[in-house]
């Protein structure tokens, strides 16, 4: 699958309280959650983000609370993919489990500019291209077990197929 979108840049250690504050956890509707995505660290963000956009972040994205509401809010806002230098482990599991595309990219993406650059992402190959500059970045491919999870559309579908056996 190939995605292309505008990018939004976030720093290191973006925690799940920043992605979606606890005061909004009395619902789990992705659309409602999306209305408050990143609100505490970027108040205008929910109004600016458009379907297909890509989040580019630093180290340890999604640290802190285990709330699955964080990837749900990101998915609800229509974000097509999150690219980070590294992910916190529960966020990583959650994103894969609910079928939110994420890529771990150790390459330095810091020269990219929000509002100017776009990225093209080839999820199968783990290849990230900046169409403007033509620069290509490499993401770490998923181990086969996780590829299977993603291929089946997430953990629930995967377990369903196992339960049927």
């Amino acid at each position: 699958m190939i995605l292309e979108g505008r990018i939004w840049i976030f720093g290191d250690n973006i925690d799940t309280d920043a992605i979606i504050a606890a005061r909004y956890l009395n619902t789990s509707e992705p659309q409602e959650l999306a209305a408050h995505l990143m609100e505490d660290i970027h108040p205008e963000f929910p109004g600016l983000v458009e379907p297909g956009d890509i989040i580019v972040a630093g180290q340890n994205f999604g640290c802190g609370s285990s709330r699955e509401h964080a990837p749900l809010a990101i998915k609800g806002a229509g974000i097509s993919c999150v690219i980070a230098r590294s992910f916190a482990r529960i966020f990583y599991r959650n994103a894969i489990n609910i079928g939110l595309p994420i890529l771990e990219c150790p390459d330095d993406l810091s020269m990219l500019q929000e509002g100017r650059d776009r990225l093209q992402v080839d999820l199968d190959e783990g290849k990230i291209t900046a169409p403007g500059s033509g620069l290509v970045y490499r993401a770490i491919p998923f181990p086969p077990f996780m590829q299977e999870l993603i291929g089946r559309g997430g953990l629930i579908e995967y377990v369903k197929s196992r339960l049927q056996k």
Partner: protein, 427 residues
């Protein structure tokens, strides 16, 4: 207890995972599917899991006795939306005959409650849709936080997948100074390695200081493994563990220990004889300074409680500081015993009277302000000093409010003085 010596060079966590995956041995990085002894959810994470679980169209869960549901985040229900979430959990528990459902008045904050209720034992595999599930490593279990979808899958299958973590060993030597506790050891550790210093890794806490550390102190330390990004934290079972388990856990269990010839990914030595109480400054738990370097920080609210520091030992030390004192007129002190049982114990020991006399507000067990849920939300520009575990932007209320983290003695003393101080300034 019988100490087992299987093939060389495995950590406690590797041995537990290997046994449960039906393998002789596992190596860090390996993906394993294991059976779980317990799967936990709360009123925020369980509703999402229940929705996902319904997609399986099953009329039973894998084992009703291995599921635990604790509505603790927004309970007693804070508003209509959270009341409805709590109802989803309650109805699910009824429908699937889940006995380990804990209603208010009988409950506690999940991570204080489960060990207290004897639901945690050495060698157990426990997953919880809550990041602080890592707390139970203090009893020699492999316990880790997962997401709601993981919980849904485990409720159906009794299994979960894991990548075997590499292990970091932390050796604490020296003698624990007065007013320094498990909270300071873990804050110091996080300050040293950073909020992603143990990302995807297991943290083994050991050494003479840990050997003498109370179970409450060990629970506090393992609770905050996640604040260093850890998959789990653990202390290997010993006399203190077995004493704690006595009368709580009646089932047979097998204690598991790391071999002496384990190759840890990294070993850290901390001599803590001169360690001061530690303060984590906003907005990150690794922004740690000793209390003497805190400067003049005036505080508006002090919170003593949570799954990190709401246990009886924490309340005792806070009461020791607050005895015959009054909270500073400008400060609001809120005390949350972490479970109903601890609450009763605090009443019997006279601690609650000390708090009330000191003009603190006491609350029924709830997560409340710890996650900025209810019962003590901060206004713009306010500063709180708290015994909880996170101080991210907006964690306890307004995005422009601030949270500082500390141990219960520092929290109590600072509530009296109105700024962050060392307990010896008050006692």
């Amino acid at each position: 207890m019988d100490k087992k010596h299987p093939p060389t060079g495995s950590t406690m966590v590797e041995k537990i995972l290997a046994a449960r995956a039906g393998q002789e041995k596992v190596k860090p990085g390996e993906l394993v599917n294991v059976t779980v002894d317990l799967a936990l959810g709360n009123d925020v994470t369980a509703p999402v899991a229940i929705k996902e679980f319904s997609r399986f169209a099953l009329d039973q869960v894998f084992d009703p006795d291995k599921i635990v549901l604790v509505p603790d985040h927004f309970t007693p229900n804070k508003d209509i939306a959270s009341a409805e979430q709590a109802m989803v959990v309650r109805r699910f528990a009824e429908k699937y005959s889940i006995n380990n459902y804990f209603e208010i008045g009988r409950m506690g904050i999940e991570h204080a409650l489960l060990p207290e209720q004897g639901l945690v034992w050495p060698g157990a595999v426990i997953i919880g849709a809550d990041s602080h599930t890592c707390t139970y490593g203090a009893l020699g279990a492999f316990a880790t936080g997962v997401g709601s979808t993981d919980l849904a899958a485990a409720m159906a299958t009794g299994e979960a997948w894991f990548k075997v973590p590499p292990t970091l060993q932390f050796i604490f030597s020296g003698t624990l100074p007065e007013w320094v506790s498990g909270k300071d050891l873990i804050l110091h550790t996080i300050g040293q390695i950073g909020v992603d210093g143990a990302r995807y890794k297991a943290m083994e806490f050991t050494g003479p200081v840990i050997d003498n550390l109370s179970m409450d102190g060990r629970l506090t330390m393992c609770n905050m493994a996640i604040e260093a990004g850890g998959k789990c934290g653990y202390v290997q079972p010993d006399g203190i563990t077995f004493q704690y388990l006595e009368g709580r856990v009646t089932k047979l269990y097998q204690s598991v220990y790391s071999d002496s010839d384990v190759e840890y990914e990294k070993v850290f030595h901390f001599d803590i004889s001169n360690l001061e109480p530690q303060i984590a400054f906003p907005p990150s738990p690794d922004n740690v300074r000793p209390v003497s370097e805190a400067g003049n920080i005036k505080i508006d609210q002090v919170v003593i409680g949570s799954c990190t520091n709401g246990r009886i030992e924490d309340l005792r030390i806070a009461a020791r500081v607050l005895q015959n004192k009054k909270v500073h007129p400008r400060v609001r002190l809120i005390v949350f015993p972490a479970t109903q049982h601890i609450y009763r114990q605090a009443i019997e020991e006279g601690l609650i009277s000390i708090f009330v006399e000191a003009e603190a507000a006491i609350s029924t067990p709830t997560c409340g302000p710890c996650l900025g849920g209810h019962m003590g939300i901060l206004a713009r520009g306010e500063k709180a000093l708290s015994t909880t575990n996170r101080n991210f932007v907006g964690r306890m209320g307004h995005p422009e409010s601030e949270v500082y983290l500390c141990n219960p003695a520092v929290a109590a003393a600072s509530a009296v003085v109105g700024r962050i101080v060392h307990p010896r300034e008050v006692v």
